[in-house]
């Protein structure tokens, strides 16, 4: 009974999307001017099979994904180093924090014209944008993770007369781990969005953003729609994957 009820409830949640899709379909048959923006579902289906068959969708997704991963790796490592340095050394904080907070104010996509002038519009420029996008949240979360460690743990370490390395690996790192994982989760989201976003601006190479921009230039709405759905799905899937993974890996941290 309960099961049935929850099924019915879930079905009601599908009502609104179904209505919207139906409205879309109706709008697409209202003449040429409408069909330009609202393409019929059958055309979207055809577009999808076409993109899958000629491999465009796979190649584009992989290109965006690859850049996200490399940029994420660079951004996370740099963010870990800078964040930890700022948290653990007063001098490093004095020197790095002002620069970090100044640079952080500019929306990352606003930097693209400058980066394009300096580094061209090749893969390297895009990678720099993605790395920066991952670097900001990573630094902030690492810094907070290391600074918000309970004083008592440090005091225990002092009583036990541990050396710096022991304090770092036994006290600081485990204490900051949750915040660091949170930082990677944020960095992942930013890296994915900026990877696709950078492709909208820098049109060389391949990727989901390029696929969409080309489709926009050719007024092929069905490919744009597929691109949007694909970007949303991939972002959601990566977020779920990573948060499950951290919950599994950090389950010993739950108090």
């Amino acid at each position: 009974m309960n099961n049935l009820l929850s099924h019915a409830r879930r079905a009601r949640g599908l009502l609104l999307p179904a209505l919207l899709v139906a409205a879309w379909e109706v709008a697409s048959h209202q003449g040429a001017s409408q069909a330009y923006a609202f393409v019929p579902l059958s055309v979207i289906g055809q577009g999808l099979t076409e993109l899958i068959r000629n491999g465009d969708l796979l190649i584009s997704t992989l290109a965006s994904l690859q850049r996200t991963c490399i940029g994420l790796l660079i951004g996370v490592i740099a963010g870990l180093l800078v964040g930890a340095a700022m948290a653990l050394s007063a001098i490093a904080e004095r020197l790095l924090a002002p620069l970090y907070h100044m640079l952080r104010q500019v929306p990352i996509l606003g930097l693209i014209p400058l980066i394009a002038l300096w580094f061209g519009s090749q893969e390297g420029a895009k990678l720099l944008i993605v790395s920066l996008a991952a670097f900001y949240p990573m630094t902030l979360n690492t810094f907070e993770g290391f600074t918000h460690i309970d004083r008592r743990y440090r005091e225990v370490a002092r009583v036990l007369e541990w050396n710096t390395w022991q304090v770092f690996t036994q006290v600081l790192l485990p204490g900051a781990l949750r915040s660091i994982a949170n930082g990677i989760l944020h960095a992942l989201a930013f890296a994915w969005v900026s990877s696709v976003g950078s492709e909208l601006f820098l049109s060389t190479g391949s990727g989901l953003g390029n696929l969409m921009m080309n489709a926009e230039a050719g007024a092929r709405m069905e490919i744009v729609v597929i691109g949007v759905v694909c970007i949303g799905l991939m972002g959601y899937a990566m977020n779920q994957l990573f948060s499950r993974l951290t919950r599994h890996l950090l389950r010993w941290r739950d108090i």
Partner: protein, 267 residues
């Protein structure tokens, strides 16, 4: 005697504090000096690296000619209209989502799916549907504001203790009074945070949209500068964007702190 001694120590401490505060300037000044030196060395062409003094001159030129202010005014007008639309929509929808079981059952699944779609990814779609005119930019800002505000509102309202509602029922408050006098004040802190997040995201998306397709605004000024290889214009634009974003964000932060001083906000 003691009081003068403590005053002397006090002043020494405050002088020390002020000196310490000045150390925050070391690295920005170093960066500026390195930039000026490298630019003056002539290793790089003026199209790639321009001395900071030239950027300052361009800034003053653009300010005096009114180009900078005009661009900023266009961008901010778009931001404001999109923000008002998105924030009011988000407030209403978020409240409905939290207060009505029916709305939740029918709308929540779609809301949570749609909120996964990044605003940036919608730019090509919006251009196709709405063209490259104002509508597309304002609606993009609306979208960027709507989702964080709706989410923060609905979660903020859901976190209100049940007792508030019970008292309201006891007094037989009419529905609008329940909303205005109980629900929104009680959920104000998370809602304001949602507004701030929405505003920051909206600013970023708007700049991106203007870079891609616009005939006015700061983003368009930067894009023109890039096409004409005027790196000074690009840099002035980038710095202005950063400054405006910073001012918007910190004024809302200040408002949060002012309004909820009684609440001891955890930073």
């Amino acid at each position: 005697m003691i009081s003068t001694a403590s005053a002397v120590i006090g002043s020494r401490v405050s002088v020390g504090h002020r000196m310490l505060a000045l150390t925050w300037l070391i690295s920005p000044l170093l960066l500026l000096a390195t930039w000026a030196l490298v630019a003056a060395s002539g290793h790089y062409s003026a199209q790639l690296l321009i001395p900071p003094a030239d950027v300052w001159h361009t800034f003053k030129d653009l300010l005096h000619s009114g180009e900078l202010l005009e661009g900023a005014a266009f961008s901010l007008r778009r931001l404001a209209s999109g923000f008002v639309l998105g924030a009011s929509g988000g407030l209403l929808f978020g409240a409905a989502l939290a207060l009505s079981k029916t709305v939740e059952v029918y709308c929540a699944p779609m809301f949570h799916v749609l909120r996964q779609v990044p605003s940036i990814a919608l730019i090509p779609m919006f251009i196709l549907v709405f063209g490259v005119e104002e509508t597309f930019k304002v609606l993009l800002v609306t979208k960027a504001v709507f989702f964080p505000v709706a989410l923060a509102t609905s979660e903020g309202i859901k976190a209100i203790p049940r007792s508030h509602f019970e008292v309201a029922r006891l007094y037989r408050l009419p529905r609008y009074s329940l909303l205005l006098d109980v629900v929104f004040p009680a959920a104000a802190p998370p809602i304001l945070t949602g507004l701030r997040v929405g505003l920051t995201r909206a600013w970023m998306v708007l700049v991106a949209a203007e870079l891609l397709a616009a005939d006015s605004g700061l983003g368009q000024m930067i894009e023109m500068g890039r096409q004409m290889m005027r790196i000074d214009v690009v840099m002035v634009g980038v710095i202005t964007i950063g400054l405006i974003g910073f001012v918007l964000d910190s004024s809302l932060r200040l408002l949060e702190r002012r309004l909820f001083r009684w609440k001891a906000i955890k930073e």
